[in-house]
Amino acid sequence: MKRIALLGMPNTGKSTFFNRLTGASARIGNWPGITVDLLGAKILLGAEMVETVDLPGIYDLHGFAEDEQVVRRFLQNNPVDLLCVILNAAQIDQQLPLALQLRQLGLKAVLVLNMVDEAERLGIRFDTAALAAGLGCPVCPISAKYGQGFPETRETLRQLLSHAKPADTVALQVDFAADEALIAEAERLVARTVTLPRMLEHDLTERIDRVALHPLFGIPLFFLALYLLFQAVYTVGGPLQDGVAWLLEQFRDLALVPLQTILPSLLYGLLVEGVYDGLGTVASFVPVIVLFFLGMALVEDSGYLARIAFLMDALMARMGLDGRGFVMLLMGFGCNVPALMGTRVMRSRGLRLLTMLVIPFSLCSARLQVFVFLTTALFSPAQAPLVLFALYLVSFLTAFATALLFKNRLQSREPLLIELPPYRLPTFEQIVLRSWHEVHHFLSRASRFIIAGVVMIWLLTHLPTGVPAGSPDTLAGIFGGWLEPLLRPIGIDQQMAVVLLFGFVAKEIVLGAMAVVYGLEGDALAQLMTHQMDWVQAFSFMLFTLIYTPCLSTVATMRGESKSVAFTGASIAWSLGLAWLFSFVFYQGARLLGY
């Protein structure tokens, strides 16, 4: 099968072009010679199936960054029939040297000039024929976002491929002196083929920045925007979540409950009360997750995240992190897993590990659900929001304290250089595609763990057979008994200890586990909780839930991203220790004060 490789600088709309070319069929895959996963897709181009690979964004083919090494190793180990080089047309003067470097590989190539619409608005004009002649390859001006010029580009790709001879891998020789000459050549080529307006002023962007990056109002404005985003997600997502839960319940009552008479009771319990109910918990979360990722995609593609990094960098630098680390913590409010994956942009290992160490303290949406349930049950309507707010504060506090404590161990001197791109309004299609990728990824990860998790809970609370479900005589009860001496000093009894054990798998399971353990659901469960624990115990339980390991998905992601079992283990141990310490100090302190 012939192969097209997409190459370009970061922020050139490469992924948008890739999505447009491949639809939503892309899969993450392994490639010879490299250790990171890349997105790839098989597409029908003319009459041929063609494999398309999205290579990481690079600034310099001869660079030393991880991504740049990945690209080099990919090209050395995988034959490429057509190199599709994507540049941001609005920044052609800066990006053309990369195209010239790639031309030296001697591969069949095509230059895709993306964002021509933006370049046109800025008054940049191209002589594409002269540029193509100068480069020795076809030049396709497009707007990947709006699809302008896309059909022609696709046709060019097809034609080039149909004439391509079987390709071989390339041998790379790095000649830094030649790179200087390339820059000079690029400047001459730009001077000959591109008309640049004398002063490029992104007027609208500058006007927005005057407000968004205001020395005094910038940070408060950001928190306001954050608050509004959360409000929107939960206002719209709450009813949707209830709707999905209702549908799942209807299906259960109408289609699954009748099976009770047919299936053996153990099998029925495992399949329906275990797997179906467990998966249902995840499924009912999908609307909120989708909305959250829609919101994040909107913010991310708008260019605002880079501004948040700008505003918060000074504060984060004092903790050994940088502005990007704060952005990752924010992403962690939705789900810690994509936030951990987001640390890939960091090149220094120390900085990346330190950021990965603090992300799990970010109060994710699954934990929020537990807290909303417990605060509503145990606190007055006036107190409940304050308690939630306190938990968010603890979330930041533990993250920052962790960073301060470990910043000397995980040091970095990574210069921070971030482009503040012009503000862009993402298209609806673009946002939908992006969030679909995220959600798909989330579901495939989460469902694996949650099926295994709920099967385990069900078995633990129902075995050995012949004892009452959830009683101290079951396996779960026995484990709870073992944990009791450890958790008694923080006010957590045997039954809640079992719940915490399950919470290790995923916080989505915590409420379900409480329901299974106490044999009650919804309001009745809330009612029971007020008799089972007082507010001091409840807050201690919430502190522990907030700080200890978020879920197995986070652990697996951390293991995958850090490629270190030792680091992952240390992170789990640290968060467990810190959770116990916080709960202990709070619980014993409150009791000493007479509460």
Partner: protein, 78 residues
């Protein structure tokens, strides 16, 4: 014309790049974003609490920390 560091330019004051004292990957990223000898740079604003600088070079806006900006030597008017 006097030679100063980029971090020493006043907000809004343009300078012409004379030397980029950075190494390795950072140097290349600077190059890729257009920080080359002879180009004009201008600090646009600085974040609170000694935070990073926003600098404009050509059509590109970037943020970089003051200590990193100090590696870039520029000619300034006056």
């Amino acid at each position: 014309m006097t030679m100063v560091r980029l971090s020493e330019l006043a907000i809004g004051q343009p300078g012409i790049i004379e030397e980029v004292d950075a190494e390795g990957h950072f140097r290349q990223r600077l190059q890729a974003l257009g920080f080359r000898i002879g180009k004009e740079v201008r600090p646009i604003r600085q974040a609170l609490f000694g935070g990073p600088l926003q600098v404009r070079i050509g059509s590109v806006n970037v943020m970089l920390r003051r200590n990193d900006a100090a590696l870039i030597h520029v000619w300034a008017e006056g």
